[in-house]
């Protein structure tokens, strides 16, 4: 489904991705881990088409098509979805209107009828319940004034409504308490299907307990330095990154987890 070959990308003259190779087949779940600043969000952003990144070498095919040649909106219409690490607030655009527009552009693209406000509401109600989303959030501006947890839920809710074929979740688990994490994981698992693939970017084993990946990759300094199965995530949780030759001074996931749980309080 997705094939990344020797991908190099830079931001403002800083080379961030330095040769990524990754193959994701339909039905698979991949976890990408790695210390802060290693390039995880950059990879996710390049795949979704964030304009600030410039691809300098390599390529990506998605369903055999040249992904990098598509606009961000066309990637989304072709079934790619990015759950943002930092969801964006959009004052003045209601969450309901936004999501219905997004859904309807996708439906048009697939030759389906657009949903009117009533049909849309009927369709999303169940998914809101699944994700514990308060209905009042739908009438508020997109992410405006949402708590951190509400923003993350909103990302997964959008994913549940848009039903992408390739979902990339960038630290959707960060900052969530364990109950919220379970809810989010449930939302993701509900989407798991033989024709879909999911890439989760995370710092923690925690999420991987709920969304069990087929493969785990460690990204460091713009390259995938290690790949394995879920055992690799367990090992990272126990030993940190040092044994992979990643220098000390980089925060171990456990240390970050500690800091985050303090911050979350």
């Amino acid at each position: 489904m997705l094939e990344i070959t020797n991908l190099h990308a830079k931001v403002e003259d800083n080379e961030i991705l330095r040769g990524i190779d990754l193959k994701v087949n339909a039905g698979e779940v991949h976890a990408i881990m790695g210390p802060n600043g290693s390039g995880k969000s950059t990879l996710a952003g390049v795949l979704a088409g964030r304009p600030i990144y410039e691809v300098t070498a390599g390529g990506v095919t998605y369903d055999g098509k040249d992904l990098l040649g598509l606009s961000p909106e066309d990637r989304a219409r072709e079934g790619l979805f990015l759950a943002f690490q930092y969801p964006v607030e959009i004052p003045g655009v209601s969450n309901m209107y936004f999501l219905r527009s997004a859904l309807n552009t996708g439906r048009r693209h697939r030759g389906l009828d657009e949903l009117d406000a009533m049909d849309f509401l009927r369709m999303v109600r169940g998914k809101m319940k699944l994700l514990g989303m308060d209905e009042s959030l739908m009438n508020r501006s997109v992410n405006e004034g949402f708590s951190g947890g509400e923003k993350k839920r909103n990302e997964i809710f959008q994913m549940a409504v848009l039903e992408p074929r390739l979902a990339i979740l960038d630290e959707t688990d960060s900052g969530l308490d364990i109950d919220a994490l379970k809810v989010v994981a449930e939302g993701v698992n509900a989407l798991r299907a033989p024709q879909r693939a999911i890439i989760v970017v995370t710092h923690y084993q925690r999420l991987i307990n709920y969304i069990v990946p087929d493969f785990v990759h460690v990204l460091y300094n713009g390259r995938i330095v290690k790949s394995g199965d879920r055992q690799l995530a367990l090992e990272l949780e126990q030993k940190g990154y040092g044994w992979l030759g990643i220098p000390n001074g980089t925060l171990s996931p456990a240390a970050v987890a500690g800091a985050e749980s303090v911050l979350a309080r």
């Binding site: 961000p72 959009i90 936004f98 527009s101």
Partner: protein, 438 residues
């Protein structure tokens, strides 16, 4: 008349003969008018020729050149009695007075269903019956402002609305000014007078619309008196033809504890100047100025507002937003005057601008003159572009680039529309804004 003629020949006015001829024609048509009215017109004409059209040397006109108006030979707009289609903003059933090329059209107006206690009609009719002396030209500054002077000299018609004490209007009244193109550039000088009595309540909508391609000059003046404790909402929708010139003054006088709001949406015109002035002339008066200008191409729109706090315990809220695309330009100048006696004044002003293109230019400036010491006045102005993160967020969900830009642009303007209580007008504007910029 000789007085005016002498002054005219002494003036440096461009195209003076056109205005002189126009004035003579007005004098002739109004030969039987009461003396005070003829005096007023004569005085105003003399003042206009003395002042001439404003130049960039005047602080208030620094960023707006009216040279294209000054050099054009405008002819008085010709009467047109063909039926016109009312602008879409005007609901068919709502009470409306219609002016075609500056003249009252009884056939197009619909004043049925108005409750007792309100009179709506043609100012010309009202002047002929002669009772406006107390109010006409008592509020708008024709001695200082050339365009107001010109209007005062040449205006022959416009809307007259009188709402008697305690009358509450449930339905808005629409004043509609339509211009149809004629071969040569035409000028119109609508003059409106709105008298809202003590404890009255009403919403009044002024709509200016012109057929595409119409090259004309609207020079409008509206005077509005809000009596004690009156609650008045005034709306102005300016959607002149893209070639038109539009200069307008809304001059408001507020009495004790009145509550007045002026909502303004400016969409059309090649060169537009909107003056909105309110004098808070009674204790506890509240005034809201809420406006949006949306321009593209080579349009220029200039908004000058003055909130004159003359008495204590008054509050004013001013929120203006601008959206500029193409090579358009805009000016916002927000004046707040707090007189010596106006203690406990509470004034907030904000002007925010969204530039959609690198070639658009905005000049924004607050202008505060505060003579009292116990007051709260805050002001702020911003100039920004569309948020690129928000744009990417929308696109990443499949919403196309143009539509995403449009959505964000609309979101920017949303709170201005949200302040408009008149649901039907707000809904119309929302539709129109979505239509005009895909």
């Amino acid at each position: 008349m000789s007085g005016a003629t002498t002054t005219l020949s002494a003036g440096m006015l461009d195209q003076a003969d056109v205005y002189l001829a126009g004035f003579e024609a007005v004098e002739k048509r109004w030969a039987g008018a009461p003396g005070w009215l003829r005096e007023l017109r004569r005085g105003a004409m003399a003042r206009f020729t003395e002042l001439g059209f404003p130049t960039g040397k005047l602080e208030e006109w620094k960023f707006t050149s009216v040279a294209p108006i000054a050099r054009t030979r405008f002819h008085p707009a010709q009467p047109d009695s063909r039926p016109v289609r009312l602008p879409a903003a005007v609901p068919a059933g709502a009470p409306h007075v219609v002016f075609l090329n500056g003249r009252y059209s009884q056939a197009q107006s619909n004043l049925g269903g108005l409750p007792p206690g309100v009179r709506v009609g043609s100012l010309a009719e009202f002047l002929k019956n002669g009772r406006a002396e107390e109010h006409l030209a008592r509020y708008a500054a024709w001695r200082e402002e050339a365009f107001v002077a010109l209007n005062t000299a040449l205006a022959e018609d416009g809307a007259f609305i009188e709402i008697s004490r305690g009358t509450v209007l449930r339905e808005p009244i629409y004043m509609v000014f339509c211009s149809t193109p004629s071969g040569e550039p035409a000028m119109l000088h609508p003059r409106n007078l709105i008298l809202a009595g003590e404890a009255s309540q009403a919403a009044i909508v002024e709509v200016y619309a012109g057929d595409a391609g119409g090259n004309y000059f609207t020079n409008a003046v509206t005077e509005l008196l809000a009596g004690e404790t009156a609650v008045i909402e005034h709306y102005k929708l300016q959607q002149e033809s893209q070639e038109a010139f539009h200069v307008a003054t809304l001059q408001v006088r507020q009495q004790r504890s009145s509550n007045f709001a002026a909502h303004s949406v400016s969409l059309g015109g090649a060169l537009v100047r909107n003056n909105v002035n309110a004098v808070l002339d009674g204790d506890g008066a509240q005034c809201t100025l809420n406006g949006l200008y949306l321009v593209g191409g080579r349009q220029h729109v200039d908004t000058h507002t003055v909130l004159d706090h003359a008495k204590p315990h008054c509050g004013s809220r001013e929120y203006y937003k601008g959206i500029l695309d193409g090579r358009s330009s805009a000016v916002f100048n927000g004046g707040i005057v707090v007189r010596k006696d106006a203690q406990k004044t509470d004034a907030i002003q904000s002007n925010k601008n969204l530039l959609l293109s690198e070639d658009a230019v905005i000049n924004t400036k607050p202008q505060l003159q505060i003579w009292a010491d116990d007051v709260r006045c805050t002001h702020g102005a911003t100039i920004g572009q569309l948020d690129s993160e928000a744009l990417f967020y929308l696109r990443s969900r499949g919403i196309g680039h143009d539509r995403a830009r449009h959505l964000l642009t609309f979101a920017f303007a949303n709170d201005v529309l949200g302040r408009m209580k008149l649901e039907e007008l707000r809904a119309h504007l929302e539709r129109q804004m979505f239509a005009c910029r895909r």
